[in-house]
Amino acid sequence: MNYQTVHKDALEWMIGRGWKRKWGKKGEFTQSLLEHTDVELNTLFTLLPILEHPLHYNLTKSEKQAIIVGTIAHDVGKETDEWQEYVQLPRAEQRKRFVPHIILELTQATVPQLVEHLGFAPEIIEDAIAFVNIHMAAVRTPTAMMGLIQSRREGSSRWATLARVVDVVDNLCSAKGPFAAMEVLKDSLLSQHLHATYHLVQIRGVSTTMLHRAAMEAFAEAGWSPLLHFSKGTIYVADSRVSALEPSPDTIQARFAKLLDGALTIENAPQLVVGRNFSTSVIAKPELFNPALLSRYLDVASTRMRTAPFLTGYTVKPDSNPEMQATVQEKRRNLVQAYLEIRDDLPDHGLDEKIIEQQIQRFAEAQPEMGMWVLFSAAVKDGLIPHPKAPFEEVFGDGSYEQFQKCPKQRQYVNNMVYGVELFWGLSGHRLGLEIERVEQLEPKRRLALLRQTLVDIANQAQEKADHGSVASYGIAKDVTQLLMVDLIHPAKSIDLTQTAHCQLEAYLDSKEQAKKENAKPHICPICNAEFPGGDAAKEDFVTGVESHTNRALAHGRFGYIVICEACKYERYLRQLLLGERPPNVLVLFPRMNIGYHSGELLRRKAIQIQEIGSTLMSVDTANPNERLTLALTNLIARRLVDGDSEANWLVRAVEHGLEPTELIELMTYDLTDDKQKEYRRELEKALRDEYEFKKGEEDVAILNEEWETNFPDWETAVQAVAERQVRNQTVDEIWADAQKLRPIFRVVCHTPHMILVPLSGVFKNRKLVSQFFVGNDSDTNAALRELFVTLLLGLALDCSVAVIDSGEPITLEGGEGVARVPSVPAVRELIGSDWVGLTEAPMWLRRIGAAGLLARATAYPESSNLYQILSAPTPGHILRRIEQKQKGQVYMNQLPLIEAVIEPIKEVSHA
């Protein structure tokens, strides 16, 4: 039996019965009937290969099929309107009017249909019906059982035992959290057939996804199969016939370190390690510095000091005011004078403009190399690479290392030039096998490459010769892993609880006083509440609001930065590394409570597929450059989602069937307007001119033809060919993508079935990087509504919980909260009435916000708050009147359903 096919067919059957929009569980957590049944089916598919063994239940094919059908249909009685109404009542009222969900007639009618749909043998129907009707202990009364015994004609002789398997699977999947599920499993009749264990973690953030993965891999290697995933952990089972040992924490730690090591050397790591402003901080994150990546750090450093900005600061602009001109003149003179004085090369007749200009040009040309020297100097002086005296002097000559020691580890043009750049420029070309006298005469690009290689070779030689005891060796991944392993709650090494409690108490007693003090006294981390023996002050670079109020330190100490634990610090470093350069926020997808192995993988694959389709669309490889993706343009997404006739209504499909990745992307795709296309075409032309240094009207197509190996007759034709993607090379591709504003708006970086993290790119608003949900002059409220709209759509389409968290915010989501988290904007939380939108309200709010988006233009409310104004209108009449007032009395019939989607009008009454 192919379980995947059965799973697919079963999903089709359940969706067909509308189970996706029906309640399956309400109480401690909420699940749709589809989710609940799907989790059970997944669990069963993991258990059956063990239980079918001759030494366990020795299940026949018919018995397996009957158990599958029984599991799928066991809650069919919940699909009735009566039960749906009942389950939504407050608990007190539920007690007064109980509605059973085992309905014999319904089971009798449904099971044969399901058996036929799955293509199973009709002989299993009787067993399957029995499994459904007695799947709860409460209904297995002596009378019911005797009745069944008497009425049975065919089927398995051990139907009562097998019915209890269905019961156990149901209880297991209804348990809230991994502990409760483990209890169910241990107390059940399956305990003698299975070994069961689990891994459990404390959620911290992106490091948690790696820890989950490490644990899953270690358990799989030890022979365990994942049974159920929760956001905090996974339950595993193994056949009781074989001895399966839990992997040790050390094994998990080793895997975790390997994953972390990979993360720390990912492509964007150097961008984060190398500081942005070389006048203040050259190596921004020394903890993450890896000598093996020196070559890439040097590349990044060469971009931090560039020729053009230097020249801008040291060029006298004829159109600037005289005072400014005098200031720049003085700056130029001072720089050159200081430089020549150090070199003892000041002309006797003093400085003239010719000498000044000549030297300024040399400084400008030297900038990228200077960046490399500054970084190299900082790395040596901070002990991140061993002192390279011998290999250094081998290249630059005796005494050169002493000179190099004077090269500052920040940007100081004169000293960087004299004690860094000029050591290199002064090298003899012949010695390096070049046909030039001095390296300075080499073409700048080649010179830069040569310098990088030279410095890397020196560092490598120094590393080889270094005594490991005296230099910092690279073991950051191991250290970070050690710190973050505290998040693994099980399996974990045993600790002395008394000692731990004592330490915690001690730290807690002083926590207020120490909260903002960087010292070695015990602290309590304001982010994770763990006690730690002193730490670093958090930087705005990785924690939002480091100076903000904390209840700790209320009355003690200066108003400084909060001090956080090392684990939280590295978690935030990792976020920056994995999620890119400080994305303003991250989309988190996670199971609503639990998810089975197959569905977990399916969810993960869907996320990856969305990423793949989306990234193609947002890259130079896009098939249609006029197509764009958006998460923020609510009206464009709502156009298809909310509008339209019922057959084509995407909302209905999203709610009742879920959407495939291609469909989701299609919903979020729109075409550029003609005006925008023209604007981008103009930008392309300008960018090409800038790249090839053409002045407008003086473009030389011959240069382009030579470089592109083309034969365009004129500039216009050449630009058109680039626009139409007929010319492809790296430079042209980059120019074209920039002009088209093609850039990814999201990336799926960390994914396990427990949690999928999707960093979202931001947009600049008033020079500040903010969430991409801000459109135009959007207020926080409007942007929050756009965010909620997209999270609701994703939550409903992918059957999971969705939240958008700020990049520095702790992830405290555990599952069971709802479909989408309401952004923490007071006005929006008040409008929605809760922190999370639940399963029942989700389609309604999706429709309401979507309809508001579609009405925004007609109502002509201020752009900053239009969605909120529409959604908070007291009656539909207010919206209607507003449209009339703003559209010269004009309102269209097709706007009325949208208004009614925003606010339900008073029911119309027919009059006789």
């Binding site: 009656t875 539909p876 009395g889 208004i899 009008p905």
Partner: protein
């Protein structure tokens, strides 16, 4: 020291009961307005008829059901379109019951919430009436298009010429307008003749072609 006296002011919330009572008032006024001669209008003033005055006075207080209903009826009778058409007993009944239910509702809510409650009634009723008006116009539009299709046998060109419209104008794009509209008054002789015939056709169907004020779409 004595304990400070603290008070908590809770904002008035629209309870289910209040919502149902609003719904009842809207239902009664809507039923009354069904018999008011204006079926569709662009101005809120015209569409709400005498009910607008009732709502205003209910908000001000100091009115009783009978005088307020009488005041509203007088406004109804003063409408030129209502001349010669006595108000039906059922309309009077609905108006009176609606006014009474409104006044009772107004007395039962805090004074601070009064304006909000009346606003709710006002705009809910307005929405219901406007929606009906738009539906009425949409129906007439379809009737007009069908009628013109029949008259000109689908010949858009002949139709555009007869009505003095731009080349390319289509029968299917036409909308309904009343006999006092600018389009009618400024139209060609053929337009007027056609529309007169259409109004007569509507009257034959028991409709009131003039039950529309300033309804032209721009």
């Amino acid at each position: 020291m004595r304990k400070p006296i603290t008070i908590q002011s809770k904002p008035f919330e629209l309870t289910e009961d209040v919502k149902q009572r609003i719904q009842e008032v809207v239902r009664l006024f809507d039923a009354y307005l069904d018999e008011y001669p204006v079926k569709s209008a662009r101005s809120k003033h015209a569409l709400m008829g005498p009910v607008a005055k009732v709502l205003d006075r209910a908000k001000a207080g100091d009115w009783y059901t009978e005088p307020l209903t009488g005041y509203a009826l007088r406004i109804h009778e003063m409408n030129p379109r209502a001349r010669g058409r006595p108000v039906s007993l059922s309309a009077v009944d609905n108006l009176e019951k609606g006014t009474d239910a409104l006044l009772v509702l107004c007395q039962s809510v805090p004074i601070t919430a009064l304006a909000r409650i009346v606003d709710q009634v006002d705009y809910h009723l307005y929405y219901v009436r406007r929606k009906k008006g738009l539906a009425w116009l949409e129906e007439r539009k379809q009737q007009l298009i069908n009628w013109l299709q029949e008259r000109y046998k689908g010949g858009d060109e002949a139709f555009a010429k007869a009505w003095g419209l731009k080349k390319g104008s289509r029968i299917g794009d036409q909308y309904y307008f009343g006999p006092s509209s600018k389009t009618y008054l400024g139209g060609t002789d053929q337009l007027k003749a056609d529309m007169d015939a259409f109004y007569a056709y509507l009257k034959g169907l028991g409709e009131e072609p003039e039950a529309v004020e300033e309804t032209e779409e721009e």
